[in-house]
Amino acid sequence: MSPINEAADRNAAPLAPGETQKLKFYQKGTHTVGNRLVDVDDRAVQSSLDRSNALTCGHRACQGCGEALGARYALDAAMRATGGNLIAVNATGCLEVFTTPYPETSWQLPWLHSLFGNAAAVATGVAAAMRVKGRSNVRVIAQGGDGGTTDIGFQCLSGMFERNDDVLYICYDNEGYMNTGVQRSSATPPAARTATTPAVGDEPGNVFGTGKSVPRIAVAHRIPYVATATVADLHDLERKVVKAMSIRGARYIQIDVPCPLGWGSASHDTIRLARLAVETGFYPIFEAEHGKVTAARKIRKRTPVVEYLKPQKRFAHLFKGGVEDPRVARLQAMCDANIEEYGLVDHHDDDV
């Protein structure tokens, strides 16, 4: 079959659910950001020359910041999906601080910041104002880190969910309060060292059996759309944002964004760690509609959790002196439970 025929095939067959790009024989570029062999329209927003760069250069995020990356991925996709009719509301946190040291801003879209805990409520207000002014084509995104979402802003968030306000809330989850000096949040994983869960004592690091999963809580609100995503899978992330923007009502996307500073990892390892979080089952990537989990991203190459833990200094105490802490097995069990719960591995087929 000629490449022309392939292109025709691709156009003829619409994308199946869960599919981002219809690729045939593109072994080389199947997982890359762009691909010179597919139609421009079928490529990722991030590969495009005219992406909006909603979060542009000169921001003061650390080297290799996963959050800066995740925010641009998400907002550029939303900008394209809404034709640029988009307003962002930001909770206090790294993202707010590193993008807007007065009088500079890195945002290339209307952007508001109020308090640490009220982003969801402010966004609700902006959406209401747009509706009242008859400009409901202008869409609203609220965004914050895991601290501003799972802890401080949780009440406002839950309110936004239960009222089904027309807002997409995006949580950039770096598993702690990184901006203020790496303190524990309710999204910090067990055993991780933070400033408030130091690596001392019999069981150093964060305590097992604490914390919460806001994606699961969001699903329990039976809102129209909930998804988790990762900076390690751009095509999946963009597809989820586009899908969220096609829906009215309360929506929630939580993106895994590794933090080189807080996690004690090399700046060039940000995407690799996000990828390992998925491939180990540590961070399940799924989506849910109206209270039901509808899809999960399969693991491509199942990997033991140690591969994920070892490059991070926040877990270094688990391998101190070359001896593996027994709690590594508990973390592995957590991953295995996720794999089981979301069906992340197809048992009958080890192929991708």
């Binding site: 080389k28 890359t32 950001v33 000169g58 290799g64 801003t105 751009l234 995407i271 991708v352």
Partner: protein, 541 residues
């Protein structure tokens, strides 16, 4: 500007903040040498031509390929593809079937009638090429491209040298050979047949040649003394393979013994089978793993029913039978006689013990040195005699078509420089794009549905039998399996993964640039580059 209450500064963009000053390492785009190119004796830019093939532009791929090798349809059949042995993809699933894609492109070129452009300008220099084998043809092609007038003198009646008289038809159909030779002749290369050069000095003087390239093949069979009865039939491999080209096919009988362990021995045994021999037995003094023949050819021969007698030497040949002595390998791996004898039935014995080159044309050439039956050449392929260059089987090297083609190209470049009174200095080689330089996450696996077809594509012999329509799909599929090691294939990963928008995309075919005003040197682009085309280098103050 009027400011609101308590506001003193204008709103500004963060672009005023040049975060590039944070950097202690900078990313740079590099080209690394793909292992396939590194391994190719003909010096092909395999990764380069595959990149055209994968976008379906087969003519551009063929043109890029023939920059280095004018014989892709031949090479796609007879090359032992060391490129595939070096291919990084082997560590992921299986090496890219480079050879089958090369053959596909070569066949396309013949089918479509793609031609080489004649040189834009004539240099006025005349070069004599002795021998129309792979090395001579390759040199003639490259010399002609430089604008020199080239004459090939071939001792035989037809072109191809060992490709015609040494490689059996089932591996290289003669119409393919003829088509690729004709394309070179059509550039204005003059080929004279039945024109054996007796003395190179005289030939050069008489013909007014400014330089010569000697590429005489190894057509003389080596003999070993084996006591043989009067009625015993003992032939040599060169003779057998050569007579396959004539009217009268060699008469080998029902039981044929081939003595030797090289590729020629295999070719003779397989030829004997095809001529109707019931038994074709290869007798070799060492073991299979010590055999110089390529393993896949041994395998194919075994599949065809050729039998092997390892660790054996022929002691005596009688009419209808031979006596072999069993050997044993000593500590150093050398075969030693054991004193145990065995008799095998044999109607004929074919000796395939290696070949020599007829060097009589070099007699009396001052400065020229012959050692161990081959001509000594410098790094520029020039013999001790100024202006006389040599390559292929004549010089110390591995004797394959691919090596010969490589010699022809290399010699042509040096001859061209020499004719201009200059020297040719090849560009320094890039660092090798080894597997550890790649991020293989980004390469997809072959979908299951396509895999059976792919298996067929990798098996050369069956590839010919795949119907025409499927050929292109297979070739395209194979080409797209290339990892593009060490060379950007514009996947946009660097452009996408930079948290600082510090990668500038220049558009199709133009690649990318770093914006060092904002690049913080995090190294994500380098870590996530699939093909290892970005290197992090320390900043200097």
């Amino acid at each position: 500007m009027e400011h609101p209450f308590a506001i003193t500064l204008d709103v500004g963009t963060s672009k005023a903040n040049h975060t590039g000053s944070w950097r202690n390492e900078r990313p740079v785009y590099v080209h690394r040498l793909p292992p396939c190119n590194h391994a190719c004796p003909a010096g092909e830019d395999i990764q380069g031509w595959l990149s055209f093939a994968e976008s379906g532009d087969y003519e551009a791929a063929w043109r890029a390929l023939t920059e280095n090798n004018p014989l892709p349809a031949i090479m796609g059949r007879v090359c032992y593809h060391p490129c595939e042995g070096a291919c990084n993809r082997a560590a992921i699933d299986a090496a890219v079937g480079i050879n089958s894609v090369e053959r596909f492109l070569g066949d396309q070129a013949i089918a479509q009638g793609w031609a080489f452009a004649p040189p834009a300008q004539e240099s006025g220099k005349r070069v004599l090429v002795v021998g129309a084998g792979p090395s001579g043809l390759s040199a003639a092609y490259h010399l002609r491209r430089f604008g020199h007038a080239v004459t090939i003198r071939e001792a035989g009646p037809l072109p191809g040298g060992m490709m015609r008289f040494g490689i059996p038809k089932y591996r290289l159909p003669r119409d393919v050979l003829d088509a690729e030779v004709k394309r070179i002749a059509d550039m204005g290369v003059r080929i004279e047949y039945d024109a054996k050069v007796e003395n190179i000095r005289d030939a050069m003087t008489e013909g007014g040649f400014d330089a010569a390239f000697l590429a005489v093949g190894a057509h003389i069979a080596k003999r070993a003394y084996i006591p043989a009865g009067e009625a015993a039939k003992v032939l040599d491999a060169v003779q057998v393979l050569r007579s396959m080209e004539g009217e009268d096919k060699p008469l080998l009988g029902r039981r044929v013994v081939v003595y030797g362990g090289g590729n020629t021995a295999i070719d003779v045994a397989r030829t004997a089978k095809r001529l109707g021999a019931e038994e074709a037995v290869i007798v070799y003094r060492r073991t299979r793993d010590k055999m110089p023949a390529h393993d896949f050819e041994v395998e194919e021969a075994l599949e065809e029913g050729v039998m092997m007698k390892w660790l054996s030497t022929i002691k005596n040949v009688e009419s209808g039978s031979i006596t072999v002595e069993k050997m044993a390998l000593d500590d150093k791996g050398f075969p030693q006689p054991t004193g145990e004898y065995e008799t095998l039935e044999a109607d004929s014995v074919v000796l395939a013990l290696g070949q020599d080159v007829d060097l009589s044309l070099l007699d009396g050439v001052p400065g020229l040195v012959v050692e161990n039956g081959v001509v000594k050449v410098g790094p520029n392929m020039m013999t001790g005699a100024p202006g006389v260059f040599a390559g292929g089987d004549m010089v110390p090297s591995e004797r394959t078509v691919t090596v010969a083609v490589g010699h022809g190209k290399k010699a042509a470049r040096h001859i061209d420089a020499w004719l201009r009174g200059a020297t040719y200095d090849p560009a320094p080689k890039h660092e090798l794009a080894s597997f550890d330089k790649l991020n293989t996450w980004y390469y997809g696996e072959a979908p299951k549905t396509v895999r059976p077809v792919l298996e067929i594509a990798r098996r050369k012999s069956t590839f010919e039998e795949v119907v025409a329509g499927l050929d292109e799909t297979n070739a395209l599929f194979e080409a797209r399996r290339c990892l593009s090691c060490g060379n950007c294939f514009e996947c946009d990963n660097c452009y996408g993964v930079c948290p600082d928008n510090a990668v500038i995309k220049l558009g199709p075919g133009k690649g990318f640039e770093f914006n060092y005003d904002y690049c913080k040197g995090c190294g994500l682009c380098g870590a996530e580059c699939p093909c290892g085309a970005i290197r992090m280098v320390p900043e200097t103050i």
